[in-house]
Symmetry: C2
Subunit: 346 residues, 2 copies
């Protein structure tokens, strides 16, 4: 198995900089569409064979150094008792949003195997398929990000309802976050047992919080998840606080092995702030895949140079690859990262 990814997570020396791509198993790949066309998005998440199949596609086609479980951060919430729908245009929808004491009280903590066995089955299939290939990353959403979907009933523009609950009814907000946190801990522990070799916690929307609100309303729950996992496993944990540059003075203490970054902060700035305490992941602007080859190479080199002083660096895009991206460019990106990082090591 190629282990550069796992080594970089732990700050061990690597021959080249490993790369994986957020949403690497996704709509930019024609091969994905072929599998996806057999049913709905949720059908695909819940079908272990097919979910495993699309998980493997970018490993074989693009050549990334890690596979990440094909799933969605919202699937455990469905098993908390919240019906979940995916609409072609609006995206995820929770038709029964969680906004009252009664609704929070009614939420249950799902059992990883009993309720989310399809995810665990996918992981088990993948571990077999990935022998002699690359490590498998499991994942979850972070509590704040998950809470926004439950409270807003789907995606949001300004997170009005979430922040109103935080500000107007912090006790209720806290109870909801506690339940989501407990759910996430159980879910991620289940993934570890099933065979995940690293875990990423996606905090996709946390960048909408003021630093003081992050401290009070989001960070403690992330910390609790990381502490709970660290007590049972030493696989690498990655925390990705999207658009979270100003949260870094806090996130750097979260206990994760790796912090992920979007493209809106230079990794040199990150390294200055975190020193040798954690490895870092990121952070090419996703739309750089539309640059001509020479400029893409220059940009890859820039990111690698910026990350040079890091304890460990896993290359990634700063957010998910867009459906409009050309798979050939994604493949080229992997090649460039490998070549330039080897060259930089002399």
């Amino acid at each position: 198995m190629r282990t550069e990814f796992l080594k970089a997570c732990k700050g061990e020396k690597t021959d080249y900089t490993p790369i994986w791509i957020m949403r690497q198993a996704g709509r930019y790949l024609p091969e994905y569409h072929t599998v996806r066309s057999k049913g709905s998005f949720l059908d695909l998440c819940k079908n272990p064979e097919r979910a495993a199949e699309v998980t493997l596609q970018p490993v074989d086609i693009i050549g990334v150094d890690a596979a990440i479980l094909f799933s969605d951060i919202l699937v455990p919430l469905e098993k908390m008792g919240c019906p979940l729908e995916f609409h072609e245009k609006r995206g995820p929808v929770f038709p029964e949003p969680i906004r009252t004491q009664a609704a929070v009280d009614a939420l249950r903590i799902p059992d990883a195997e009993g309720d989310l066995g399809y995810v665990m089955d996918t992981i088990r299939i993948l571990r077999k398929e990935l022998v002699n290939k690359v490590p498998l990353i499991g994942f979850s959403g972070a509590p704040f990000t998950l809470a926004t979907y439950l409270i807003e009933g789907g995606s949001s523009k300004n997170y009005l309802l979430t922040k109103r609950m935080m500000y107007e009814n912090p006790a209720l907000y806290g109870q909801l976050m506690d339940k989501i946190t407990d759910c996430t801990i159980a879910y991620l522990k289940g993934q570890v047992v099933a065979g995940a070799q690293a875990l990423q916690i996606f905090d996709s929307w946390v960048g909408v919080l003021a630093p003081c609100d992050f401290r009070d309303f989001a960070y403690p729950y992330v910390k609790r998840i990381i502490d709970a996992l660290k007590a049972v496993t030493d696989i690498p944990l990655i925390y990705f606080a999207n658009h979270g540059a100003t949260l870094l003075p806090q996130t750097k203490h979260c206990g994760a092995d790796v912090l992920g970054f979007d493209w809106r902060i230079g990794l040199d700035d990150v390294v200055r702030q975190v020193g040798q305490t954690v490895s870092i992941q990121g952070n090419l602007e996703p739309l750089c895949l539309f640059l001509p080859e020479d400029k893409l190479a220059a940009r890859v080199r820039m990111v690698l140079e910026e990350a040079k002083g890091a304890r460990g660096h896993i290359f990634n895009l700063g957010h998910g690859i867009v459906p409009e991206a050309d798979p050939a460019k994604a493949k080229l990106l992997v090649k460039l990262v490998h070549e330039i990082s080897r060259e930089m090591r002399g």
Copy 2:
């Protein structure tokens, strides 16, 4: 006239911290709806008497220390030759987006008085009405933000088309930005002649750029506008780079008298970075208006404390006030800022 706002912009001593609120003339005010109901949003922008009337409302009702011209950043683009529509749900729409050489070539530079006389008339009415009240702020969008609307044809989720033009056809992108910049310079100079007593440049979407792309594709145009204005006027210039914390190492050199900040960076962090070189504006999380009174007061005090070392501080929300806000809370906010800042001055 109450001059605390102008003094703070220039770093002069003030008896209290002045405050105005982004979108203070807006949908949270029932009085606004009364005027707005007489026609479309664009009708209101183009009717100097009515635009002046809604501009004055928050001065009289909420008690803010500055008025800001009621208009929209997109109106000058219409006069560049781009038909503009406002849809109730989608917001602004340019049905003929600018994506080709021919489209860029066809853009003209509007004349402030000849093409946008209704804005200049509004300013002239307001200056008369505001005698003995508060100063009047004029404004424009910043070139990158304006370009996103023209290229995308309206609002956008990931600015795919804008960034593709930047990356795939930088020469065309540069020509478009040059024209928008020339338009903006003429437009703002016109506002100065008409009587604006300060100007804010809104860069609402610039926070989606990587620092190196901001350097290459956005900042030079902002700098050119500020330089052009500084050559003809000494009224305060405010540059608001929304969600731009990581751009601060660059924006602090832009030459504006004031830098505006959203709520995702602490003003203490800002002061550390800018020192005494500029005044700062911001940055209460807009949804803090939903906090109970005692917690709102504590949060106001926090922002004031964080800004304490600044050359000058103008209090504001970190972004526009939301339509759901209670006008009574906005009024309370103004009172709290005045009282607490007076108290802090001993």
